[in-house]
Amino acid sequence: MSCSGSRILYCNCTYARVVAQETKAAVLDGLAQSGVAFDAVPDLCELAARRDPALERLAAGDSPLEIVACYPRAVRWLFHAAGAPLPEDGVTIHNMRTEAPETTLATVLGSETEPTQPETSS
């Protein structure tokens, strides 16, 4: 696994149904079963609206960050809106609205993680 040295952040999109329930369940289950460390938030949108200081902690750190949520452009500007912009480099955003859970899990947990810019990854 490629996770040592990188961090994983999972967004549960709790307050809307924009991510398919089965997709969220499969990804969360896969992360839990893997035994790797990860941070999970109920809903990044809600945290951003409240400008919750937790977003600063979640965006901080020198390790590469793998965010599992939705469209990269949305996630990136949500962090910005909360006053906790994501670093320019080292952040990969996985889109549960378009990606199959197996693909997301394989990339996040697998050995072939390709760092991509938040704007271009989906």
Partner: protein, 275 residues
């Protein structure tokens, strides 16, 4: 002990004592996330977000007898430990709520609000003029800002439809590019064609209604009646609703003509001479 509501961080601790069995871990995670809690799972591999001032509630697969209270290494962050071996997910949620002193149910407010893509935004202020509910404002640099996201009307994406640069996102919207999907050339073209609608609306929705009403009056002056005027207004609103995807209840909450005019005069040139 009662933990402060906004910054609690629940940790499912795998490092000390027996590990959580995988299915149980998933069930605890799902229950806590659905209830609005931030959860961190440590493990043999990988790392977590760094510590901050958030209070920690560390749950372990031990027994209540093993509960202890301790200070973090910095000695500033209160950490509460709880053993939850005999508790199912709902009981664990009850324990977390009790420690936090909260009975709040999640989901009272669907987090629906505009998010600006500043790589695209030209600070033209159309959104500010258009939104009648005070969501937008300008910051001290006279840059457009989503100042009061909670005032946004749930499921109304209308301001994103009037932005000529396709710079306004609603992450929970159904379609791209408003949901954050990449913006294509044809999206920009389509939005540019809508600027006439937006300036009309941004100026004064009522003036458009009045104009249409006046035209109808001229055409049908002889048969003018209340019912016809009402029909015309309704037709006009339906057209707007369809063009901009505005929910009916939002239209019903539109402020008065006086309020709109007052707002338009306040914000006519927020960033003098620049765009």
């Amino acid at each position: 002990m009662t933990l402060a509501a906004p910054s609690l961080r629940v940790v499912l601790d795998q490092r000390q004592g027996p590990a959580f069995e995988a299915d149980r871990k998933t069930s605890l995670l799902r229950t806590l996330l659905d209830a609005g809690y931030i959860v961190s799972c440590n493990g043999e591999e990988g790392e977590l977000a760094p510590l901050d001032a958030s209070q920690l509630l560390v749950l372990r697969e031990g027994t209540a007898a093993e509960d202890q209270e301790a200070e973090s290494t910095e000695g500033q962050i209160p950490v509460t430990f709880r053993g939850v071996r005999k508790l199912d997910a709902d009981a664990v949620l009850g324990l977390v709520r009790e420690l936090q002193g909260s009975t709040a149910e999640p989901g009272d407010w669907k987090p629906w609000f505009p998010v600006i893509d500043y790589d695209r935004c030209t600070n033209c202020m159309q959104c500010l003029s258009f939104c009648l509910f005070g969501v937008y404002d300008v910051d001290e640099d006279k840059t457009i800002d989503v100042a009061q996201p909670e005032k946004c009307k749930t499921n109304c994406p209308a301001c994103s439809r009037v932005c000529p640069e396709v710079a306004i996102l609603f992450p929970k919207y159904k379609n791209g590019p408003i949901n954050g999907d990449e913006v294509q050339a044809q999206d920009v073209q389509r939005e540019k064609m809508k600027t006439d609608i937006s300036s009309l609306l941004g100026g004064d929705i009522y003036s458009m209604l009045r104009e249409r009403h006046a035209r109808a009056n001229t055409r049908f002056s002889k048969e003018r009646d209340e019912e016809r005027a009402l029909k015309e207004r309704r037709r006009c609103l339906v057209k707007l609703q369809q063009e901009l995807d505005i929910p009916e209840e939002v239209l019903a909450q539109l402020p008065s003509a006086e309020q709109i005019l007052e707002k338009a005069s306040r914000h006519s040139s927020p960033r003098d001479g620049s765009s």
